[in-house]
Amino acid sequence: MTAQDLNGAQIFRDSEADRGHRAKWWTSRIAIYGVLILWAIICLFPIYWTITTSFKMAPNVMKGNMIPWVDYQPAWLGWKSLGLSPDTIGNESTVRAEFMKRFMNSVIISVTSSALAVALGSLAAYGLSRFNYRFGFMKNADISFFFLSQLILPPVVLALPFLVLYRELALLDTRVGLILLYTLSVLPIVIWIMRDQFGSIPTELEEAALVDGLSIWGAFATIILPIALPGMVAAFILSLVLTWNEYFFAALLTSTYANTLPVMVASQTGSQGISWWSMAALSFAAILPLIVIGVVLERYIIKGMAAGAVK
């Protein structure tokens, strides 16, 4: 073999596969980001549409304008009908008063029932993860199953009996009635999440605390609770989302005094000839708190939902 031959044939060079690799890498990147961006648009467009529509006027809606300031001039029309635009915010507004009443109902009901569910559910989950119980024929596994099986129970089964019961108990159209039902409906989810949480905390911690002279409730409150707090926050947020959005029970069991925001939104949708801009404003006002929670506390929501998935 001569020197010239050696020069002509490069010994080290990229093989076909290696050169193809870069191109393949780029196409896969483009495909991945393409799909991601497409799905992000699918997820976010309805929200964008609702926000922009709430600033539109009739001709904008009919022409199908999309981008504010570019193809239409935003107006406060939708928010004015809610009494929440800059020029009406100072004045009396019956719609705003109505909206605020519903909003406060939603806040009170969802926060109270979530807090109640987290309190009851955490205690139960802690007990089930630490001690042996025997309630009649039921042992720990049976009690857990009893709690979790509530998840399968469709709300419609309870709805009509509760309607009649609440009528007899004068709990119809009261916040307390809804709070009780909402607590019941999110309790299995809270127990599901918290059982997982407490299960991952070693019992040696309590043993040490007991040796130091704490009672079992003292150990729970001072040692275990702080450790399990992130899990409890996750359970609370998840319950909050579910109870805030609940419509079925609220529609059946409330009428004038205690109805929540979803019921108000739904009653507006039903009426014919609704103005899009005011509906958009109302819908957006109803979902705004949850969007904020979703963006700020996303970590906890994911944690809560992932709790049951991986064992």
């Binding site: 199908g64 009851l120 139960a124 009996p161 040490a208």
Partner: protein
């Protein structure tokens, strides 16, 4: 097995370690408990402990048992030694008076509840008049009983009662709010009860079942639930794909995660306006415009039964895909990276890597996610009620929305409750079967 501990036992005695006691108070030393079946001479650490500190409160000693603890080890101390949970030695000296008081308040409040309930029943049936405006007194009496039951546990059973107190409130709450309404619902289900008519409840035997049997709309709604549930497979495929993408090495992962999560946060009622009534509106909605752009004449999303059903499926999928996606993502992140790397080294390409490594590993998580999703799907109602109210011709009806309308239009509680109960029975049977099948699938094959 271990050699017997300190001095007291003869040197050749073989002892079994049965646990240890942490000494409370300032000493804080760990004392092992030894026992022997053959020789009694073994060191009984606990007695030794009690001997050196006669007034020692045994209450808060933590005993970890590695076998079964003989009860005579510490006199006056109760050892809970079932399973491998937390073991606490307790020394409860509960006086008889305290126990009697505990029993008294439980039975007393129970009696009170019973008396109030009987009085109310008598008033309701017109046998006597006590001047109750509603059934609240019974409710209050029941609540008193519930509190007394919790308190009584502590009074009667001391430390054990305090442990029961963790689970008892939740158990009473759930039992009171489900079992009682369910029993009550059973009565309603077999009666003709129109809430708006003054005649009140009439027992009508099996009439409701006969009516259900010939009600084509109910069967149609049940069939729709099957179709809706089948749509979960498509949702699952999309959710899995998205989870894989989010798990890949990408930039702005947090942004995409938040964006993908948002649909789940929105209330179905708002979604039914935002998408169902405005974006899908046939004249001005942006999706209708998009359809026109692609050449569809007169796009209508709720015109024909099939398209309407598909639209509802898509809207529901839009809301709930994030839920499955997050569960699957959590599962994906729990898979050790080494497994996929090893497969790559062995020459598996991306596709085979997915089918032969990732997917089988994800099977348990997938099945959990799908089962939970089915449970949620069976409750589907809000979107249907608000967007189509079941139309056209019942094509989009779910069982829940059908019963909702049945009540709203005829306010017949009896028939609606019966339909709901039949639905519950079907769900319980179907879910049990599904779980059995899923269990068989995921169990490792030998």
């Amino acid at each position: 097995m271990g050699k017997c501990g300190p001095t007291l036992a003869p040197p050749d005695t073989v002892c079994v370690e049965i646990g240890f006691v942490m000494c409370p108070g300032p000493i804080r030393q760990r004392v092992d408990l030894w026992n022997s079946r053959t020789q009694r001479d073994c060191l009984h650490a606990c007695t030794a402990l009690c001997a050196c500190h006669p007034p020692l409160p045994v209450t808060n000693m933590s005993v970890r048992s590695t076998g079964t603890l003989p009860a005579h080890l510490c006199r006056g101390a109760k050892v809970s030694s079932e399973g491998d949970l937390l073991h606490v030695v307790t020394n409860d000296n509960i006086s008889d008076g305290r126990k009697r008081f505990g029993r008294a308040i439980i039975w007393g409040t129970a009696g009170l509840t019973l008396i109030v309930a009987v009085m109310q029943v008598m008033q309701a049936t017109g046998q006597a008049e006590f001047g109750f405006a509603n059934w609240r007194p019974t409710l209050y009496a029941f609540c008193t009983w519930a509190v007394a039951l919790c308190w009584g546990q502590v009074l009667i059973r001391g430390e054990h009662g305090k442990r029961t107190l963790f689970v008892l409130p939740a158990a009473i709450f759930v039992a009171a709010l489900t079992i009682f309404p369910l029993l009550f619902g059973l009565i309603i289900a077999f009666s003709d009860w129109n809430l708006s008519s003054p005649t009140g409840r009439k027992f009508n035997g099996l009439d409701n079942i006969r009516q259900m049997w010939t009600d084509p709309f109910y069967w149609n709604a049940l069939w729709n639930m099957v179709l809706y549930s089948l749509a979960i497979l498509v949702e699952y495929a999309i959710a899995f794909g998205l989870a894989l993408l989010l798990n890949a090495e990408i930039r702005a992962r947090k942004f995409f995660r938040v964006a993908f999560l948002l649909p789940l946060m929105l209330s179905p009622v708002a979604v039914s306006w935002m998408i169902g009534k405005s974006m899908l509106e046939a004249r001005y909605g942006p999706l209708a415009r998009l359809a026109k752009f692609f050449g569809v004449e007169n796009p209508s999303f709720f015109g024909s039964p099939e398209i309407a059903r598909a639209t509802i499926m898509i809207m529901d999928a839009w809301t709930y895909i994030p839920f499955m996606m997050i569960m699957i993502l959590a599962g994906l992140q729990a898979i050790p990276k080494e497994l996929n790397e090893a497969a790559k080294v062995d020459g598996a390409n991306g596709w085979r890597n997915f089918w032969e490594v990732t997917f089988p590993l994800m099977l348990p998580v997938s099945i959990t996610a799908i089962l939970i999703r089915i449970i949620f799907k069976l409750k589907l109602a809000d979107i249907v009620i608000n967007v189509t109210s079941g139309g056209p011709g019942g094509a989009t009806d779910t069982v829940t929305s059908f019963i909702f309308r049945e009540y709203r239009e005829r306010s017949n509680v009896g028939y609606g409750t019966l339909l709901a109960f039949v639905y519950l029975v079907i769900i319980v049977i179907a879910m049990t079967l599904l779980m059995k099948i899923a269990d068989r699938w995921t169990r490792p094959r030998t």
